[in-house]
């Protein structure tokens, strides 16, 4: 819904703003925004000599902006109370409400943050000066490509840096295939990669069975929240604790709510463990936001 709303709204605004379209600046086409190189050079993202260093016109400092943002998001999600609350709402909304987290506020915040990040992405893309926004009635594919990148990066900010570089690398490679082959072959490859990432559960089950050397255990790929899944490397005693935490992920939060900072760390540790142990069960649940 909001995809199309945003699209049509932007097109309407651009059409009615003076000096926005390319034909005002001497170009012949009316269907796109002005090229920044002619309209306003100072709006371009600085290149900081990177274009000479790597001998490429496409290079500018936006890659560093993106990486810095990814690291900031990592810190927020992994090291701060706010990020912990966000994740708790994602794992189990009812339990986090029970633990005193304002779940609605957190969900609104997560939407606001994701909107801000997507906006930065769009801004960086067009401010690099290599692309012009075209007024069409269909959506940009880049927004949809963000979803598979997030999934491929296992919804971790650091993983997403590498996933993004990987996906855009094979996409640029697809452009080079162009005259002989349809570049959509790349989309097929990416789609197959993501589809097969769904099989990770199966592979993990097989791996854990092989590592334990016990092929008779049929429950290996069927983790039950209470008992620790087989094949977890963290000894038995730790496994018990982990299993409990997986059942009620957000139980220790009230203590955390009372005094921020200091206590956040140990709780963080106990919250991270179910991630790895019950990861078989909750694999990629974080990426399930539609």
């Amino acid at each position: 819904m909001f995809n199309w709303l945003g699209l049509f709204m932007v097109n309407l605004l651009l059409n009615n703003m003076p000096k926005m379209l390319a034909n005002y600046w001497g170009a012949t086409n009316k269907d796109r925004t002005a090229s920044l190189a002619t309209a306003n050079k100072s709006a371009l993202i600085p290149k900081a000599g990177l274009d000479k260093l790597l001998d490429s016109n496409y290079m500018n400092i936006s890659i560093f902006i993106a990486i810095v943002i990814a690291i900031i998001i990592y810190i927020i999600l992994e090291k701060m109370t706010f990020g912990y609350e966000l994740k708790a709402c994602g794992f189990n909304k009812d339990a986090s409400i029970y633990a005193g987290i304002n779940a609605k506020r957190n969900i609104v915040w997560s939407m606001v943050i994701s909107g801000a990040l997507a906006g930065i992405g769009g801004g960086i893309y067009y401010l690099s000066g290599t692309a012009q926004y075209t007024l069409v009635k269909s959506l940009l594919t880049m927004g949809f490509n963000g979803i598979p990148v997030a999934l491929l990066g296992a919804s971790s900010p650091i993983g997403i840096i590498f996933a993004a570089i990987f996906i855009s690398y094979i996409q640029v490679g697809g452009e080079a295939l162009q005259p002989e082959y349809a570049k959509e072959i790349i989309d097929i490859i990416i789609a197959v990669i993501i589809y097969l990432s769904a099989f990770s559960l199966l592979v993990k089950g097989i791996l854990s069975r092989v590592m334990k050397g016990d092929t008779s255990n049929v429950n290996a790929d069927e983790p039950v929240p209470i008992t620790p899944p087989t094949g977890v490397k963290t000894g038995n005693a730790a496994g018990k604790v982990v299993g409990d935490a997986a059942g009620e992920v957000v139980k220790p939060i009230p203590a955390d709510r009372i005094d921020h900072g200091e206590t956040a760390k140990p709780i963080e540790a106990s919250a991270k463990q179910p991630d790895t142990a019950a990861g078989i069960a909750s694999e990629s649940e974080e990426g399930g936001d539609k």
């Binding site: 909001f2 199309w4 009635k137 979803i147 959509e184 072959i185 789609a191 589809y195 769904a198 099989f199």
Partner: protein
Amino acid sequence: MAWANILADLIGATILFAVPLLLVALGGMFSERSGVINIALEGIMIVGALCSCLTLVGLDKAGIGVNHPQLGMLIAILVAAASGAVFSLLLAFASINLRADQTIGGTALNMLAPAFAIVLTWAVQGQGQTTILIPTWTRITQDNFGIERADTFFQNLIFKSFYLTTVVAVVLFIAAYIIMYKTRFGLRLRACGEHPQAADSVGINVFKMRYAGVMISGVLGGIGGLAFTVAAGSGFQSSVAGYGFLALAVMIFGNWKPFTILGASLFFALFKVIGSYSDSIPFLPSFKSVSASEYIYLMLPYVVTMIVLILTSKKSRAPKAEGIPYDKGMR
């Protein structure tokens, strides 16, 4: 007479564009009522449209199409249904057997389908030929009934854009309602979407039911893809212009129930048609002072839907277990 003609065009076009939305939203309803979120509707539509359009072209070349046009169309519909069902099996396998995240599987299939369609179209038609043209005999005209052509209200209403898919959609709508609410199968399907553990405890095979739900959505989605392609007119260009996602919205708007989905799809199609024909409808304000004012009308269906959704969201009720992979050991 001009007014009557415009009205007839408007209603005809509304029904024409409501058909794919209705079919695909009904498909989504079956899938989600059985507990599987079907984001892949867009991809299923594309695959159904691709296979059926290739079939139509093949029938045209073989000469069957011109002699028995509606038989050819029926074959194309069956092909669309079968291909959609086969494609939806991919989603079913990942989300039911492997218990993968259903959104991920659907997103992957949505990416796969248009790319696959383009590559296959190139392979069949030669490099750079991205449009599959639909033969003209697919439309039902006055000649099929032996009626004299005339410029009357009813003939404009019915025959301007009348395809076999419309008839099939009406039949399938009634069938979908009966299956969902009047048969044992429908009750079991709904049970699996609400509380699969309870359904399993009384001996219903949840996996089988969910497979059935996803495959029915594949059948309806495939036919919907063909219906969209004939409605859009110019031929199949490896895309269904986001109608799969629109159908998802229609399904939520329609509260996962057949009759409200019918109403929602008609409503949505009407506003969509008003949006795209805004310059030829005389009684609409034309916003002379704003340039490119067609975007105001293009925004209209989405704005209205959002407002209605905000007003009715308290009553909306999704199937309880949708999106949650079935795990026997879970409490």
